[in-house]
Symmetry: C2
Subunit: 85 residues, 2 copies
């Protein structure tokens, strides 16, 4: 495959990734609402640890687990900001 | 929905997100190979700008565009590391 075609493929994947991250954000937002009414703190280190363990367990490569964690730290970072809004 | 169910939903979404990021990484790896043989540098600011514009254009919310960019900066960061391996 040529670089142009590979980039087209990446653009398509990015559309799907953005869609899934947005759906994840909606679920996080719903959790944020429940946290407010039940007085659970937004930052829950135990749950975040669970998420990081899960994404490493399902990582098929070629990225290293540490790289997947690196990405997910950012994802959880923006989700926390969203829950605080 | 209860928090437990929402978290189950998030875990399922994370499996799909990790899968797509991994497929994206495979395409980036293939581009990395082509870059090596054609002497194109790994860091291409013009293409990275295009990617960031694209993900903002397809962002349906609830995350702000700046938050999607925040996540994608990390994604592109690990992809660059992968291309250099």
């Amino acid at each position: 495959m040529e670089i142009v075609e590979l980039r087209q493929r990446i653009d398509e994947l990015d559309e799907q990734i953005v869609k899934l991250i947005s759906t994840r954000a909606e679920a996080a937002q719903a959790i944020g609402q429940l946290k407010k009414v039940t007085d659970i703190p937004v930052y829950e280190p135990k749950r975040e640890k669970e998420v990081l363990e899960h994404v490493q367990a399902v990582n098929p490569g070629p990225l290293a687990n540490a790289e997947i964690v690196h990405v997910y730290e950012r994802i959880m970072d923006v989700m926390r900001t969203l829950q605080r809004r």
